[in-house]
Subunit: 197 residues, 2 copies
Amino acid sequence: MNFLEERIKRDGIVKPGNVLKVDSFLNHQMDVHLMDQMGEEFKRRFADKPINKVLTIEASGIAIACSVARCLNVPMVFAKKSKSINIEGEMYVAEVESFTHKNTNQVIVSKKFLTPEDHVLIIDDFLANGCALQGLISIVEAAGATVEGLGIAIEKGFQIGGRVIRNLGYRLESLAIVDGMDAETGEIIFREQECVE
Amino acid sequence: MNFLEERIKRDGIVKPGNVLKVDSFLNHQMDVHLMDQMGEEFKRRFADKPINKVLTIEASGIAIACSVARCLNVPMVFAKKSKSINIEGEMYVAEVESFTHKNTNQVIVSKKFLTPEDHVLIIDDFLANGCALQGLISIVEAAGATVEGLGIAIEKGFQIGGRVIRNLGYRLESLAIVDGMDAETGEIIFREQECVE
């Protein structure tokens, strides 16, 4: 197990309905040193890519994306979720339909901060159905920029998002892929991946 | 001028209606090194306080709060904005009325992450009328924890928020206090403060 899998095993809580709560260290209370470990690991995994910008989406992706951007020494941009456009000026907008909530939200990024010269690493904390990530990919493509890859902290391997994004040909690296959970025993089954310190 | 005032003068854009746009480095695209400079400066300013937790509110406060938490070597918690409660379990809720938008939002923090033993530094990117900060203060007080201080990147000194919080007796440190702006000339007037490198 790598450092994130170990932390999930120690502090994650499995709830009925395939819910994995990691709010004590990842998406409500944040362990900043864990963020930095993730930043270093994404830097290592995407070392062959000429990344000059990190893109994430508010809110819980921001902390990890900041650590990645610090490690790569590049700026970070976070997309905003909105029901109505409230950023002045020209922007890229993706209409994102949520599988879970059966509604549509807008994901927006100012055109000032994505150009055809950009080589973008997309970062987020969770990947399940991948709706938000699909919106981020479409925004990078609309800008004429290059998606160099996607880095996720925790992928729910039993949901569709990871498969869709890999099928589309994108390089997707998830630090922990959860293939199953048992709310009664608390057991979490991780997909075997390349061993990482 | 300190480093943040210089950056605001260089890259901030003054718009009519006392709007200061800093989205190229602070709240849409983020300069991570600037975040770290702010983290170090808040650490210096609150060096006399026994802070063991940093609290902010989603979304644009998260990056600065992470840098402060890293410098102080403590965890960071971010409060969630919600129209309806969606965090399972017990939580602290503040009903926050917006002066600007004339509506009410909920600010929520899980009770697991604030206890009477906590000594909290509240961090945010902007202070204008202070509605969100007042909600964060009320949550810390409700938890029986101690507000050791509040650290803000940019305070609009001509709006009421800073005065209210200082009048309540809280230690409030704003790295840049904007006392006036001129959208025609682009001039920004900063309040004179202790000189900082």
